[in-house]
Each structure stands twice: as structure tokens, then as C-alpha cells.
């Protein structure tokens, strides 16, 4: 089973975000492989172990995004491809999906494309479906369990009240939730091996796309800090914390 996994390099989510004009600053800040993407890489590696094939990591981002690909390679993926282009700075989900679709098509035939449900930094949560549409593939999002066989997959898809079992023909695209598996750690051997694995670097023109094709139509009219909640009282529990909460609940007429 040949699988492409879309991975994103994001500013470290444990640090406060920095802005670069209207967009999130992505260059020159400490970054990581989006923690949500580790589950997709792990899912792909498990399917490869069961069915054979190859795992290709696909990413779009600044040159620094190579770190995210290397991290996925050190977990065990076979190769990577990174699309970097100045004109892609500040891309929205529609443009990102278009570029990733062209990149995936250029890499050859895949049985399965895997993404995260949403990125940890932008969390628009629509890129997977948009990408599937550009690729002309069926998609199953919010997958929390995967069974693959020849030519088809059977998955559990999370719903508001439980889950559905969905069967889909292959090729298909799935987005996986964080509950789908336990991502493996990269071993020292894996990290060393990753340095020798092939990574292709592409620009927009390599994909046959122009600046017009990737122009972002959505624009920010205005940005302002949200009205902050009034600073509350934070107290160290000295044994009276529970009583303070009870007072608060009484005042709120809850008890």
C-alpha cells in the first residue's frame, strides 16, 4: 500500500505565537512537526508494516519545514517532498490544498492519503476535504480506527454521538484523530537513517503553478485584541479553596 502523509511544520505550540504582519510568523521561530501529524505518520507506518509499500511525506512550508519531514523520516517514513516558495507565504486552506494536490499527483500513484483532522496552529479543519476534492478522491475524516485490505478500507469515524463504521474504496483520503494510535518515538538509528533518506525540494514552477494560481482571495480587513475577560482572583489552596468555590457557586445562584 503506497501512502502519502501530509505533514506540517508549525511554530512550537508551547510558545506564545508571534505575528508577521497579518500572518503567523513561521520563519526564524522554533518549530516542530505538528503533534497532530505524528498520528498520521504512525498510522501510515502501521499500514505499511501490514501490507507493504512505501510511505511518502508531503509538506508545504518555508525551508525550515524540512525539520518536520526529517522528524517523520526518523520515525520510519521512506521519503519526503517539500514545496517551498515565497509566494506561498500566508496561504489559506484552499491554496494549501491546491498545492499539496499538485505535489501528490506529481509523486505518482497512491492508495491512501493521510492528513490530520486539523492543524494545531490554524485549525481551520477543512484542508483534508478540499484536498480530497482536488485529487478527485473520496474522503473519510475523523478516523479513529483503520483496517486496510486490498482495494478498500474499513474505518471507524467519530461522530457527535459516537462513531460510524465507514467502508471506502481505494484510493481514498482519510484524516485521523489523535486517538487513532500511539506514535512511536524516533530511535537513534532512525534519526541517523533519516539523514540519508531522499527528500525532493520543489518550487511552485516545478508544479506548473503560477503566482496567480496560488493568490489568496481571502483577506483580513481588521484585527483587534479580543475583549479580555476581567482578571479573576487566583489563590493558592491553603485548605480553604473548596469553601471559596462554594461561596462563588452560591453567589452565582448555582447552589
Amino acid at each position: 500500500m503506497n501512502i502519502a502523509v501530509c505533514v506540517k511544520h508549525i511554530p512550537d505550540p508551547n510558545l506564545p505565537p508571534e505575528m508577521d504582519g497579518d500572518t503567523l510568523k513561521r520563519e526564524g521561530v522554533q518549530g516542530v512537526l505538528d503533534p497532530g501529524d505524528e498520528f498520521g505518520v504512525e498510522a501510515a507506518l502501521q499500514l505499511k508494516e501490514q501490507h507493504g509499500g512505501e510511505v511518502t511525506l508531503v509538506s508545504m512550508g518555508p525551508a525550515q519545514a524540512m525539520e518536520a519531514i526529517r522528524r517523520g523520516l526518523s520515525m520510519g517514513a521512506d521519503k519526503g517532498v517539500l514545496v517551498s516558495d515565497d509566494s506561498l507565504k500566508g496561504s489559506d486552506a484552499l491554496v494549501t490544498a491546491k498545492v499539496l494536490a499538485e505535489t501528490i499527483k506529481k509523486q505518482g500513484e497512491f492508495d491512501l492519503i493521510i492528513t490530520a483532522v486539523e492543524s494545531t496552529d490554524g485549525y481551520t479543519g477543512t484542508m483534508a476535504a478540499t484536498l480530497a476534492e482536488f485529487l478527485g478522491l473520496p474522503q473519510v475524516t475523523f478516523v479513529k480506527k483503520i483496517e486496510g485490505s486490498n482495494g478498500a478500507i474499513k474505518v471507524d469515524r467519530q461522530t457527535a454521538d459516537g462513531y460510524h463504521v465507514v467502508e471506502s474504496s481505494l484510493p481514498a483520503l482519510i484524516s485521523v484523530t489523535a486517538g487513532v494510535n500511539e506514535p512511536r518515538y524516533a530511535s537513534f538509528k532512525g534519526i541517523m537513517a533519516a539523514k540519508k533518506k531522499p527528500v525532493e525540494e520543489l518550487s511552485l514552477s516545478d508544479l506548473g503553478l503560477s503566482g496567480d494560481d496560488v493568490a489568496v482571495k481571502q483577506s483580513i480587513a481588521q484585527m483587534a485584541p479580543a475583549e479580555e475577560r476581567k482578571a479573576g482572583e487566583v489563590i493558592e489552596d491553603d485548605g480553604t479553596g473548596a469553601a471559596k468555590i462554594a461561596d462563588f457557586l452560591k453567589e452565582a445562584k448555582v447552589i
Binding site: 505550540p13 486552506a93 484552499l94 490544498a97 491546491k98 483532522v117 486539523e118 485549525y123 481551520t124 479543519g125 477543512t126 484542508m127 483534508a128 476535504a129 478540499t130 484536498l131 480530497a132 476534492e133 473520496p138 474522503q139 473519510v140 475524516t141 475523523f142 474499513k154 467519530q158 457527535a160 454521538d161 459516537g162 462513531y163 460510524h164 463504521v165 465507514v166 467502508e167 471506502s168 474504496s169 481514498a172 484523530t177 489523535a178 486517538g179 482571495k217 481571502q218 483577506s219 483580513i220 480587513a221 475577560r229 479573576g232 482572583e233 487566583v234 489563590i235 489552596d237 473548596a242 469553601a243 471559596k244 468555590i245 462554594a246 462563588f248 457557586l249 452565582a252 448555582v254 447552589i255
Partner: protein
């Protein structure tokens, strides 16, 4: 005059998604022509309710193809309706199927899609919050139709008592659109009051240390009475509690009178689902936890000590 459409999803029981009624109410207030689209068995019957909330025309199909297969038939139907009627905007609730439908439509129609919206002005700009609600951004919408996904509970639903004309959706669904089939449906029954409706919500996170300690929150909920228990994505992903209890970006959006966050750090993922609460109480060991920046009352302490004391305290006061 702008023609605004609202796509109405239905829940597992076939009821109209409450968020669709909220969005219809908002759409009506924009003053244009408001129409709705609803697909799947029972859709025509649901049209009446959509009319009461502001839709003048409801495009409906009772075809079970929309219940049996994931999103491709819905995208086909909407794309075809757009071709016939050219709406200026289609508004969706940010639910499981809707985000996929809107995402695919965005590619098919070349329209931009605005995710996580919390408000809209005319059909030109929509508002969203970024960085866990720290910044409010007005985004200029482009394309035709404009596509917007709203977070549930962004507006209050108000029935105005109108009546809708039903327009039957006659769209040929090709075999190609029947590639992802739902073969089984499982519901994880949640006990107690519904998270979305409860006046008090108590949620637990990793700080509870182990799944068994969630029982403490159930006990606190019964001590208070009428409270619902929720959870963070981290503990749902870890399998401690069912997904139906998840509050956050993926999961439920709640706006209770009082929200009690127990052992929750306050990750963006979680905060976007609960920051609309009127009052927030947080209990966490780590005084640096971001949840304290939102809390009206923050207790820096061990939840496993504070919660049992609180249960006793409430019982004593209630006599």
C-alpha cells in the same frame, strides 16, 4: 438583495441541528432572501421548522442516499443547486459533515471558505477569533457563493413563525459519489443532563491523573444538581471517557452559567469550546496554567483534594 443560504445538518435521530436554527436566525437578521438546504430521509418534514426560523424556501430531498454515503452526494447536490440558483453565500455550522461538505465545495466552486466564524456582517465580512480567542479578526469574504462555517452557539435561535415553500431537490447522484458508505452506526449514550444545555458544566483534564478519578466529577455534578460533566481532548484521546463528553474545537461548544475546569491547563483546542461561559472556575496544580487567565476564580491546588472537600462543603451547605 443578497441571497443567503443555510445548510442544515441533522443529528443521529433526524432532528434539525440546533446550530442550523441559530444560523438561520442570524441570516434572517441580515435582511436578504434566506433559503435553506436539507438532505436525507425526513428532510421535507423538517422544512416546516426551518421556515419558522426564517427560511422562505427550503430545498429538500428525502433521498436516503444522503444518509447512507459520506458527503460526496451532498456536495453534488449543493454544487448543482448553486448552478441553478446562484446564492451569494452558503452558511454552515462547523459540524462533522458540514466542514467536509464546505471544504469540498470550496475546491469545486473555487470559492474561499471561512472556518470557525463567530459572526458575520452583511455577506462581506465574517469574524473569527484566533490564538484561543486572544485576537478577533475580520475576514473579507470572496468568491461566489461565499462559504462560511460558524461555530455552534455563535447566535441565539429565535423562531419568528414564518412558513417555507419546499423546493424538491432533483439531482442525479452518480455512482462515483457513492464511494464512502456508512455500514454501521454506534451511539455512545451519555448519562445525565446534556452538555450543551446544562447550566453548570464540570470538565476534567489530565490533572485528574487517572480515569477512575472522573467519578469525583460525577459526584460533584450530583452534589450541585443539574450539572453536566465534560472532558478535554487529551483525556478523550487517551480513552478515559467517551468522545461525546469532549468540549473544545473538536467536540462540543458550551456556554453554561458556570464552568468548572478541573485539572485542565487551558489549551486553545479546549478553550474555544468553553470561553463563552458566564463564569469560569479553575482548579489546577500549576499556577502558570493558561486557564487561570480566563478564570473568574482560580484555585492553585490539587484537584484530587479540592474536589472531595468541595462536595462535602456543598452537601453541608445544602443541609
Amino acid at each position: 438583495m443578497a441571497k443567503v443560504w443555510v445548510y442544515a445538518e441533522r443529528d443521529g435521530q433526524g432532528n434539525v441541528d440546533p446550530a442550523a436554527l441559530e444560523i438561520l436566525t442570524k441570516a434572517k437578521s441580515l435582511g436578504g432572501d434566506v433559503e435553506a438546504v436539507i438532505l436525507g430521509a425526513g428532510a421535507t418534514d423538517a422544512a416546516k421548522e426551518l421556515g419558522q426560523y426564517g427560511a422562505t424556501t427550503v430545498h429538500a430531498s428525502d433521498d436516503a442516499v444522503y444518509d447512507d454515503y459520506l458527503v460526496l452526494p451532498h456536495v453534488q447536490a449543493l454544487a448543482s443547486l448553486c448552478e441553478q440558483h446562484s446564492p451569494d453565500a452558503i452558511l454552515f455550522a462547523m459540524n462533522y459533515d458540514s466542514r467536509d461538505i464546505a471544504g469540498r465545495l470550496s475546491a469545486r466552486l473555487g470559492s474561499t471558505l471561512m472556518s470557525n466564524a463567530m459572526d458575520i456582517e452583511g455577506t462581506e465580512t465574517a469574524k473569527t477569533a484566533i490564538f484561543g480567542g486572544a485576537q478577533i479578526v475580520d475576514v473579507k469574504l470572496e468568491g461566489s457563493p461565499k462559504l462560511v462555517l460558524f461555530r455552534p452557539k455563535s447566535f441565539e435561535a429565535k423562531a419568528a413563525g414564518g412558513e417555507a415553500t419546499v423546493a424538491s431537490v432533483e439531482v442525479e447522484i452518480p455512482e462515483d459519489a457513492k464511494k464512502s458508505k456508512i455500514v454501521e452506526r454506534h451511539e455512545e449514550a451519555a448519562s445525565g443532563p446534556k452538555l450543551e444545555d446544562a447550566p453548570v458544566v464540570i470538565s476534567g483534564g489530565r490533572g485528574l491523573q487517572e480515569p477512575d478519578n472522573f467519578k469525583l466529577l460525577d459526584d460533584l455534578a450530583s452534589a450541585i444538581g443539574g450539572a453536566a460533566v465534560g472532558a478535554t481532548r487529551a483525556v478523550v484521546d487517551a480513552g478515559w471517557v467517551p468522545y461525546a463528553m469532549q468540549v473544545g474545537q473538536t467536540g462540543k461548544t458550551v456556554k453554561p452559567g458556570v464552568y468548572i475546569a478541573v485539572g485542565i491547563s487551558g489549551a486553545t483546542q479546549h478553550v474555544v469550546g468553553m470561553k463563552g461561559a458566564k463564569k469560569i472556575i479553575a482548579i489546577n496544580k500549576d499556577e502558570e496554567a493558561p486557564i487561570f487567565q480566563l478564570a473568574d476564580l482560580g484555585i492553585v491546588g490539587d484537584a484530587l483534594k479540592v474536589v472531595p472537600q468541595l462536595i462535602e462543603e456543598i452537601k453541608t451547605r445544602k443541609g
